[in-house]
Symmetry: C2
Subunit: 312 residues, 2 copies
């Protein structure tokens, strides 16, 4: 059986769908702080168990670990910006949660973990696109720090206790069921006021985006290719999209005319924001994997999907 | 005033000596789990304050932060091997302790931190010598994981809250007042039984060593060169020394004849041991710093010093 932490969340619930489609039994572990039960609808009780539990509850984690073959650890504080206000959110929901998962695996003899890391670990890299071999990795957000700390714990568990691990360094992932991020923010701002769109920063920030379905397929592709040690891949697309382009795409997708786009200015959206992230995905592509959607297609698809879901 | 965490420990106490020699006032924060009061003898109360406190006590840390200009954060679990038995030692004494320091600095407006990291963060690197630009960094010990997690927190604090940080990735540091490590172990084994010396592993493990006095000088040199952002340097020497050479040097230094050196076998001393570490120190040398002692000189000096201190 596969355990998916954060399985009721954005990417987690898509992974649950994909695992069940592939004939696996899945147990979801989620505290439903941002996950939603409706993301898990449509599966039979034979295929899917749902455990409501916080990863900071070690005995709850131990219970959920029974009978598990592979852990897919996706649970995390989903909002990278919160670190500025409350500094221990990422430490607890990221680093300590990952420790609790690993320790429970060790005690239960579970030996395989797939982990969703982030391009945020690279901080303001001076090499673009940024490959897995880039160093030193100096995250600038507390979210990025917790992802790098979690990677390091997983790597140490592999080196010390012999587990197999797949670490996925995600670009910005977008698609249906998204609960945060720039597209989500823009659409919600336009629902509140359809005459203007406030954009944090100067709009020139640019990042790689990847469609969530491509992301889940890439994760399962990587897991299928390696069966020992630590396998680490950037998951993303070849291109970047700027924030001003995203603003334009979102406005186009709404069909609204005469929306005034207003920039707050500055080279980043908030403290800890990385102005430019562009992942080198040659390693992933060299395995034969090719994302179906470009960054811009993924952004447009996400915007159109969200607008049709919630209206404008 | 300078705050030195772990200031009663091996490297910390040498740093305290150097800071006071340079005319600084110093406050030591130490839980005395491995630090020793006698390492701090000889300083006047005008120059040195000693606070007995664990870094897991946030209010104690806050009290010690008052009036501090620069934090030198050296406190950590000193024995890398303990991670195999108790898996949360490094998480608590490393990662969470560093978080507590950073959060206390933020609340108190202290903006400078010098941090002792480790070559352990590189894990089993496939590039020798290993430069600061090496990636991906995949530590194999829980100690290494906690050092990388601490680096990432410090880097995030700099990116998010604007602190200045100096990160020192240490080679194996040796010298007087050492409380652990291979030379310490060998000398103590020979004190117990002067006919044989058991060596963990096959003796072919090789690492870079640096004399503690060179290390402290290098730290202060790096701090003097940069005054914003994150400055990250490997601190070490150009050479490696094998474990079997260390065994020979220690036996020679004792003056004992007919000691039988016995190897337990295997390519590493314990789970999480990195068989070969060799730091690229070109970046440090390019700043004009040159260690006074080679790896082998540092090892021999440490062995001779320890033997003269405790007898054989």
């Amino acid at each position: 059986m596969h355990l998916v932490t954060g399985g009721a969340g954005f990417i987690g619930s898509h992974l649950v769908d994909a695992l069940i489609s592939a004939g696996k039994k899945v147990r979801v572990l989620d505290n439903f702080s941002s996950g939603r039960m409706e993301f898990l609808e449509g599966h039979s009780k034979d295929d899917l168990e749902i455990v409501v539990c916080d990863l900071l509850d070690p005995s709850g984690v131990d219970d959920a670990m029974k009978g598990i073959d592979t852990v897919h650890h996706l649970a995390a504080n989903p909002d990278i910006r919160l670190g500025v206000q409350v500094t221990d959110t990422d430490l607890k929901q990221g680093t300590i949660a990952t420790y609790n998962i690993l320790e429970s695996m060790r005690k239960s003899g579970v030996s395989k973990i797939s982990f969703s890391s982030s391009s945020a670990i690279y901080g303001e890299a001076d090499e673009m696109p940024t490959s897995e071999r880039y160093g030193p990795v100096l995250p600038i957000s507390l979210y990025g720090a917790s992802k790098l700390a979690s990677e390091s714990l997983i790597s140490a568990w592999s080196g010390t206790f012999g587990i197999t691990a797949w670490i996925h360094r995600f670009a910005n992932i977008v698609g249906s069921r998204g609960t945060h991020g720039v597209i989500y923010d823009f659409v919600h701002k336009l629902r509140n006021d359809n005459t203007r769109l406030e954009v944090l920063g100067d709009g020139r920030q640019e990042k790689s985006y990847m469609d969530v379905q491509d992301t889940v397929n890439a994760m399962l592709h990587v897991i299928g290719m390696h069966d020992d040690g630590v396998s680490l891949y950037n998951l993303g697309t070849d291109q970047t999209v700027s924030v001003s382009t995203i603003a334009r795409i979102v406005v186009e997708s709404t069909g609204l005319a005469d929306v005034k786009i207003e920039y707050t200015g500055g080279d980043r959206g908030w403290a800890g924001d990385v102005p430019r992230t562009w992942l080198d995905v040659e390693k992933l592509k060299s395995t034969g994997f090719q994302p179906k959607m470009t960054s811009e297609e993924a952004v447009r698809g996400c915007a159109e999907n969200l607008i049709s879901e919630i209206g404008i």
